[in-house]
Symmetry: C2
Subunit: 126 residues, 2 copies
């Protein structure tokens, strides 16, 4: 099924960019192995591979903020995918921001200008 | 200077997404080492690190299609950057398409629907 992609260049993984389907905003970048890509195709929900936890990461499994996949695009050398998604809960980042790219570089410093949607302490109760 | 970023998680590299500054279209994804990121900051032109050629890759060095950087954003764990760029020549992909993501997945096949701007045989004369 996902012989569509070349997993060899990054040790069994491809990069996966999630972009808001409506606004075009980049929400996050993560990784997929073959299993994650196949599950994403089959379910229409973004499933990544967490390198730090070394397991499938069904986006939203804790927070409820799943990503509904509207389109999947593949780059020229087939080692990256672009998911056009609808972000449930309006926040993709585990820090509670709409996008993981909530900071910009200004004069060699990181300035936060992204919108914070939720307080992570409230959402990820351990 | 680029202690702004965490290069350790991917062996000295960070992922770099280029997004059209005006339209929001994702043009490509590549990699940067510290030297490439510092050069990008210093020059305002996108400079990547080519894993296949194992050297700095000044985008547009052959084709002339440089990327003028308008904004640099950094993700939550500081191992990915988002460049908002102006794509000179209107094509980011070495295959002549506007974006490297010129194909989408439809029924487990890759369908090309991206706009081809130039013929690579004409541009990359060897």
């Amino acid at each position: 099924m996902s012989s569509l992609l070349d997993y060899e260049k990054s040790g069994g993984l491809v990069a996966a960019i999630a972009q808001d389907y409506g606004t075009g905003e980049i929400l996050m970048i993560a990784w997929m192995n073959k299993e994650a890509f196949d599950e994403t195709l089959a379910t229409g929900r973004a499933c990544y591979f967490s390198r730090s936890r070394n397991r499938l990461w069904r986006k939203g499994e804790e927070s409820g903020n799943v990503q509904i996949v509207h389109e999947i695009r593949v780059d020229c050398d087939r080692d990256a995918v672009l998911l056009k998604v609808e972000q449930v809960g309006d926040a993709a980042c585990h820090e509670g921001y709409r996008t993981c790219f909530f900071r910009k570089v200004v004069n060699n410093e990181l300035i936060t200008d992204g919108a914070r949607i939720f307080d992570p302490k409230e959402v990820y109760k351990k």
